[in-house]
Symmetry: C2
Subunit: 114 residues, 2 copies
Amino acid sequence: MNLLTLTPVDVASCAPEGLGARIERPQAEQLATLLKAIADPTRLQLISYINASNNAEACVCNLTEPLALSQPTVSHHLKVLAEAGLIEREKRGTWVWYSVNQERWQQLAKLFEV
Amino acid sequence: MNLLTLTPVDVASCAPEGLGARIERPQAEQLATLLKAIADPTRLQLISYINASNNAEACVCNLTEPLALSQPTVSHHLKVLAEAGLIEREKRGTWVWYSVNQERWQQLAKLFEV
DNA sequence: TCCTTACATAGACGTCTATCTATGTTCTAC
DNA sequence: GTAGAACATAGATAGACGTCTATGTAAGGA
């Protein structure tokens, strides 16, 4: 399964019941796609750094230095997160501002409800 | 980072504040290890199938057929989940019974709290 | 118009992962 | 103690992933 070729996912419809029932293959694949997006230390840090910034938004140039990664690498991870719908992208002039999609983030919590 | 060489993780200490603060590298790596364990469609299905079984436990031979996977492949995935502390293993005679570690599962929900 | 800055894309490379077949181990039954 | 059943481990292989360097694109300023 390729992370980058899959479309964003409606989490609420993927796992409306948490672990209450068997998860069948298509839903399991959609959920795994979403979880793969955050199952990376760099991307977890990116999300938390964005969220902890002023106005809970950050541009790429604010993230490369604290993470000690090249700009293309940061862009790559942000793209993965954006394609999973976990962050949002807004271009303002030369800068691109990223923010966490709080609603989608909270939807993920439903998977862990019993 | 190798999933199988890392020791289980205390989730509560990893992400006690959800996204409220920056996640630093060591914690990000521990969390990612845990998330990688469930960021796989087969393992998500295994967890849900185990949990939906009688007494919320299942042996390997109950899981190979519904998932259409070989026995060694199922064993491999169960090992990954067990090493992450997400399922527990109990040998009774010839059979080995696996069950979901509900407490740890719910701890993961804390990551998604705002 | 040209330069600089901010960001994205392309391509390459080493590592990790998911699966398989083959084999080992442990337990029960006869 | 031998045979069979249940499960684990080992080794191999194809594909995916994270990172980099190099390059492209778009916006702003002199």
